[in-house]
Amino acid sequence: MKISRNIRAFLYLAPSLAVFAAFMFWPLVRTFYLSFFSWNMVKPVKKFVGLANYAELLSSPLTYKILGNTAVYIFILLAVNFAAPYVLSFVLSCAVKRGRGFYKSAYFMPSVVSLVVGSIVYMWILNPVSGPVALLVKHIGVSIPIWSKTDGIVIVILSIITSWKIFGYNFIVILGGVSGISGEVIEAARIDNVPLRRIFIDIVLPMSSATGVYLFVMTIVQGLQYVFTPIKVLTQGGPNYASSNLIYQSYHELFVVYRTGPGCALSILTLAVFSLLLFMEFRFVEKKVYYES
């Protein structure tokens, strides 16, 4: 009886598990395996090199530049797509009475549009010579740098293009968490004339912490993968690797210069970072170590 129940449950799960095994877990094992070899995808023989690919990564200054870039991407993505929607969703659910449904629907619209479209449209909007933004700021005597060729600012622009797509989606998700808080608690605080800023910090943040952690983690996990598209389409990681991040760099090693060893080692490094985030997600969200409910 017990065994047959296990088997029947497994039959329902089998189709998904088969796809995950074949195209997620088995590839993960293969990538790990290939990170110990020197290969170029074409040669018939793979040469075992032990930890040499990892040693090469750790001794190369380029790796640290890539890690630094990745950190900057994460910081900007969090500021625009985690902090800002958090505050905005509180404002909308607490201090704005009219037009809530409208803002929700309208903010989500860019989230259903391709990032290739976003990249090509922004390339023109932010064109340093003839784009509308450049023409606008010319009136006040400011000029836009050639951002696709400028260190630092290139990451800012690529993050903004990506944020254009994620912002509305994140806004909807965090709004779900924030508006789940009982209105009575907030109403009581408002009657006592507690300022909105304090209500946000002392009541809303702790009571929506599970959704908050979930969104924090997902912004990094999804954001770093989404930003690949504008990098690939607009800069190919340039100028001189200034806009490359962990994920783009491993693509570059794997499919541009065909060095599968360092490419797979970089992929495993990315996976290590994401595993930390998975741990966070399970520690604070799925295990219910929080104040909600």
Partner: protein
């Protein structure tokens, strides 16, 4: 005005500013797709074209095999969406209707796939699909995306809201588990299933990374890949044509969204409520 009303007015200004930043790129693409190239250069920020033209769309329909490109995109998106929905419903039901050993561990394993970045799987998947002879084939693009942890998660959330008593009553009448899924659970969770399916369709429609690795010949291009041909580091000289292709690329996802927005928004709102 009372202080509260004054504050609300000010907040609407903030909210509308954010909104115009988000929607400007869509309006920009739409308006420039109806301008001639020289008009676009002389008045790029003008949102209502003073001399609208269809020449960019005529160019797209005569130079690009846009019917073929749209069909390719649609073909991959329909296969991915249908299979992802089917596998997600079955898996979500296993977690809803059965108690079995290792249930929590298995759920963890499934959720953890959301944390595997695509650069970890793309080389082995490329090698697998190539060894099956499916490189540069539409079916090879669809094959690795027939299941999705997000779908399992969202549909399970919706199935959880069905009262246990309804399912138990049906079981008492000797209804099979599969019959319960087909006749009771699926009809009750239809809005969630539908919006998850539409989001899968839209995401696949917009997909770029995996198709660009797999598809080489132009006759197999999807809309995102066709659009990419209009990008060069200087911006290229076919700017207005690129805007027309952009508009055609976003037409289907935006239309679907506008029709089903209620369901989609409520499904994702509930995904944020962790309980």
């Amino acid at each position: 005005m009372s202080p509260d009303a004054r504050r609300e007015f000010f907040l609407h200004i903030v909210l509308i500013s954010v909104l115009s930043v988000l929607l400007f790129p869509l309006a920009f693409a739409l308006s420039n797709s109806f301008k001639t190239l020289s008009d676009a250069y002389s008045s790029v920020g003008e949102l209502i074209p003073s001399r609208p033209t269809l020449e960019n769309y005529i160019h797209v329909f005569s130079r690009l095999d846009i019917a073929r490109i749209t069909f390719n995109t649609l073909f991959i998106a329909v296969i991915a969406a249908v299979f992802k929905v089917a596998t997600s419903v079955l898996s979500a039901y296993a977690f809803t209707a059965y108690e079995f050993e290792g249930k929590n561990a298995l759920y963890f394993v499934i959720i953890s796939t959301m944390f595997i970045p695509f650069n970890v799987t793309m080389l082995p998947n490329y090698l697998t699909i190539s060894s099956l002879g499916l490189d540069d084939a539409l079916i090879g693009v669809a094959l690795p995306q027939l299941a999705d942890a997000t779908g399992i998660f969202l549909i399970r959330q919706s199935m959880k809201t069905i009262p246990k008593s309804i399912i138990e009553a049906a079981a008492m009448e000797n209804k099979s588990r599969f019959g319960i899924l087909r006749d009771i659970v699926i009809p009750l969770t239809r809005p969630a299933i539908m919006s998850v399916g539409i989001i899968f369709f839209i995401n696949s429609w917009n997909e770029y990374v995996w198709p660009v690795l797999m598809l080489k010949s132009r006759s197999n291009f999807t809309l995102s890949l066709a659009l990419q041909m209009y990008i060069s580091s200087e911006g290229g000289t076919e700017f207005t044509v690129a805007m027309a292709v952009s508009v055609l690329t976003m037409l289907v996802p935006l239309t679907l969204y506008l029709i089903f927005q209620k369901f989609i928004i409520s499904t994702f709102t509930s995904s944020g409520v962790k309980e």
